[in-house]
Assembly symmetry: C2
Homo-oligomer: 223 residues x 2
Amino acid sequence: MNIQEWPGGTFSGQTCYKTKQSNMNKTAKTTFEIHPLLRERWSPRAFSNRMVETDKLFRMLEAARWSPSSSNEQPWRFIIGLKGDETYMKIYDTFVEFNQLWAKTAPVLMLSVGHRMSLKNQGKPNVSYVYDVGQAVAHLTIQAMSDGLFVHQMGGFDKEAAARFFDVPAEFEVLTAIAVGYIGDPEVLHPNLKKMEYAERERRPLDTMMFRTKFGTPASFEL
Amino acid sequence: MNIQEWPGGTFSGQTCYKTKQSNMNKTAKTTFEIHPLLRERWSPRAFSNRMVETDKLFRMLEAARWSPSSSNEQPWRFIIGLKGDETYMKIYDTFVEFNQLWAKTAPVLMLSVGHRMSLKNQGKPNVSYVYDVGQAVAHLTIQAMSDGLFVHQMGGFDKEAAARFFDVPAEFEVLTAIAVGYIGDPEVLHPNLKKMEYAERERRPLDTMMFRTKFGTPASFEL
């Protein structure tokens, strides 16, 4: 399926590197059909130098904004850097060397931050903030995909330095870094990374993650 | 927009309660346009008694399976109960009274479970498992939406009891409960819940969650 034929997106005619590289197959090899926005999602390391349009950036954040959260606490916050600005450089500087190798190709770098404390029950912790920020970033990612953009999340960065650089208060926690952009040419990557960029996507079998009756007992349902 | 006109879904002609209730408006009131699967998503409490088709159930799990995770650890596991079976009853029994009030209308109840430990670095904790399970459930939710189903996640249940009921090993953590089904008639709900079912969805303003330069400084980008 040509990426430009995706149904459901606001995708409007961008060229996508995937369509040019016949030796790259990142489509999820599913047993059961899933929505194209989920099936075609993957986390690239080579981004195009094309800047992300501001309206698409806002749409991604809007998608995160409307994601669900425990008691509607909305514990997600985002710090956004565009290539060339100081925020981008500060975020980049916190990355481990491996991530610095490739993340410099991304036109947008963000940090996701979670609110450890509840706003509805003053003084009490929000036990669900990490989970809920994960969900918000997933929604952001699906929105990005529908606009022809790709997202690559990272845990490999100095979260304490990031908190310091941006004066993140103690009741908030820096959780992940997020690279966003259009797909680029894998050939610009370091040889080791290039290999990963061409590799097929892999997942453990479905029956090792869905159980019934007892944890570990594969769920079997008649089709 | 009629829910049956959604682009991008495999949605195929189910009637949806939303289309029958002109006094119900759950569409996200966005400033920036987002994908219909994200915009129309909400967490209902009144489900139809129509069972979820097995292929749709598998598609939801397949979507979770292909979601991203730190180092591709895939820390998500699911325990799945269908109305009428023992797993369903056990999950239901762990719910707080408030959730029991409405969740009995859902044809499917699941538990999400996270693996605390890394599989790639034996003996080390996976610092990202909660976040990654959150993402997997978001992907599951979007897939459900594209099949005309709705999801309502809960934190209000006895997680220790759930772990005990299903022999969940100590290195796994029960995280959330998940109700899935087709939209039902809000009129069957308890009066307090009925009011919530008709209420508009609300979110904090975008500029309180997207920052630049410094945490708390609203990001402004020219459109």
